[in-house]
């Protein structure tokens, strides 16, 4: 089955690029190809100009269902990427603690995933991705299993972290509002086999407070424009 066709994209550093499209357009497949979790039948993935095959330390993945180890504490989960790299316990734990604080989970270091809410679990997933200090962060519908109110708060925090961390963020979502709110660039994919249908750069004043952004005319217009374009794919 052909999931994607003729995808040629670049993802600039320090920006958040969203892959958006109808369900089954291959956006998650594309993200997993970039992550090296699925081999591409043709073409190549370059990170900083170097061709990569398979997973690598310059890319970190944030999973839709969090993918936390239920038998490990928040601290061990966040430090797990570093543990796999063979870093010493004290060093990796101090790094993990820093990122746990950065995603707003201080005080929960010794809790287990089942003691946390969905939103908090995804914060653990995000901290784990930050902790390995990868250049590229791949986020696969990270908020789809998080309830609406937590999601809004989380989106605001993500924007703060994008500004803070200066990494390349590639974000997959099916929510138009979320895409427009969070992204510097939105890549719209067509239905299977997914092709790049359109690239949109929302013109939104990011320095404004979150509530102002959600009422910003540019924000609302972009949401509407994307919806008009995607409408034809919805059965």
């Amino acid at each position: 089955m052909e999931a994607l066709r003729g995808i040629d994209l670049d993802f600039p550093t320090g920006r958040l690029t969203t892959l958006l499209g109808p369900s089954g357009c291959g956006k998650t497949t594309l993200l997993k190809i970039i992550a090296g979790l699925i081999p591409a039948s043709a073409g190549e993935v370059r990170v900083n100009g170097r061709v990569v095959t398979g997973p690598g330390p310059e890319r970190a993945f944030v999973f839709q269902d969090f993918a936390l180890m239920p038998w490990a504490t928040v601290l061990r989960n966040v430090a797990f990427g570093l543990e796999l790299k063979g870093m010493g316990k004290d060093e990796r734990q101090s790094i993990a603690r820093r990122y746990i604080a950065e995603v707003g989970l201080s005080g929960f270091e010794n809790k287990y995933p089942h003691e946390l809410s969905g939103g908090m679990r995804q914060r653990v997933g995000l901290a784990r991705a930050f902790a390995v200090n990868a250049d590229v962060l791949l986020l696969d519908e990270p908020f789809s299993a998080v309830d609406e109110q937590n999601r809004r708060k989380f989106q605001e925090d993500l924007l703060r972290l994008v500004a803070l961390e200066k990494k390349t963020f590639i974000f997959v979502t099916h929510s138009i509002e979320e895409a427009v709110y969070c992204s510097d660039r939105i890549v719209i994919l067509s239905r299977r086999p997914g092709r790049v249908a359109e690239i949109i750069e929302p013109q939104i004043d990011r320095s404004a407070p979150p509530d102002a952004i959600r009422r910003d005319q540019g924000y609302l217009d972009t949401v509407e424009e994307i919806w008009q374009g995607l409408k034809r794919y919805v059965d």
Partner: protein, 250 residues
């Protein structure tokens, strides 16, 4: 449970049955059932005899050996079947046949193959216990969320690390459940094996007491065995609870 507003503890029903047993035994109506008090006295005397201790040691030895092979091979096979569909297709049907087959019928054949000694008993324990361990380990492995495996791969885990730190811990609750069920079946296996071989360990004692209609000692032996099986199962269950707690909601 409450009766007439009184809280009755869980073990109360056991107490009732003990009293019934004692009453039937004292009445002398059934010679197969001696009074419970006699059985308990015999139990205390029995465990102090050299015969019992030697028999218990022999039995324990066969049991531990058989279980060791069953747990090792069962877990390994279950993991392979859970991970590789080809292995699953090849062996699945046999595991499912053996898990429900009346294995006692095979013991005479085993005796021809392995002789009238401990080997036969060890093999019997193995055959009784291994299949349920395979099935549960397989179910545990298949229940490991695919994203957890992808997580390991994306953060650079080698194949070995992936199994040791992600797949096996994630499947541990099911693997332990299989081992608990396997232990209980293994106890059956060791007794049946020894009974049929009938010249070693517990089987020899059972054979001796029942042939001489020494029901008091026969029941004492049976009670010890029941208690041992239940204790083993309870131990693994306690371990399972701890693991389940860590595994939390999955």
């Amino acid at each position: 449970m409450t009766i007439l507003g009184f809280r009755v503890p869980m073990m109360a029903s056991l107490l009732v049955w003990c009293v019934v047993w004692e009453a039937v035994g004292q009445s002398g109506a059934l010679f197969l059932i001696p009074p419970l008090s006699d059985v308990l006295t015999a139990m205390v005397a029995l465990v102090q005899t050299g015969t019992w201790q030697a028999a218990a040691l022999t039995t324990l030895h066969s049991f531990v050996l058989g279980m060791f092979f069953a747990i090792t091979a069962g877990t390994l096979l279950g993991v392979l079947m859970g991970r590789f569909p080809a292995v699953d297709n090849l062996l699945g049907i046999w595991v499912n046949i053996f898990v429900s087959a009346p294995l006692s019928a095979l013991v005479p054949v085993l005796m021809i193959l392995f002789g009238m000694g401990e080997t036969t008993v060890v093999v019997t324990v193995f055959l009784f216990a291994v299949w349920i361990i395979v099935l549960d380990a397989r179910a545990g492995i298949q229940g490991v969320p695919p994203s957890l495996v992808e997580m390991g791969r994306s953060y650079g885990a080698s194949a070995f690390t992936l199994y040791a730190r992600i797949i096996l811990p994630a499947a541990l609750p099911e693997i332990l459940a299989g081992i608990r069920l396997g232990l209980v079946r293994g106890v059956k296996g060791v007794v049946i094996g020894q009974l049929l071989v009938s010249i070693i360990g517990y089987g020899e004692l059972f054979e001796l007491y029942s042939r001489n209609f020494d029901m008091t000692n026969f029941w004492a032996l049976t009670l010890i065995l029941f208690a041992a099986a239940m204790l083993l199962s309870a131990l693994v269950e306690a371990l399972e609870k701890r693991v389940d707690y860590y595994a939390g909601v999955r």
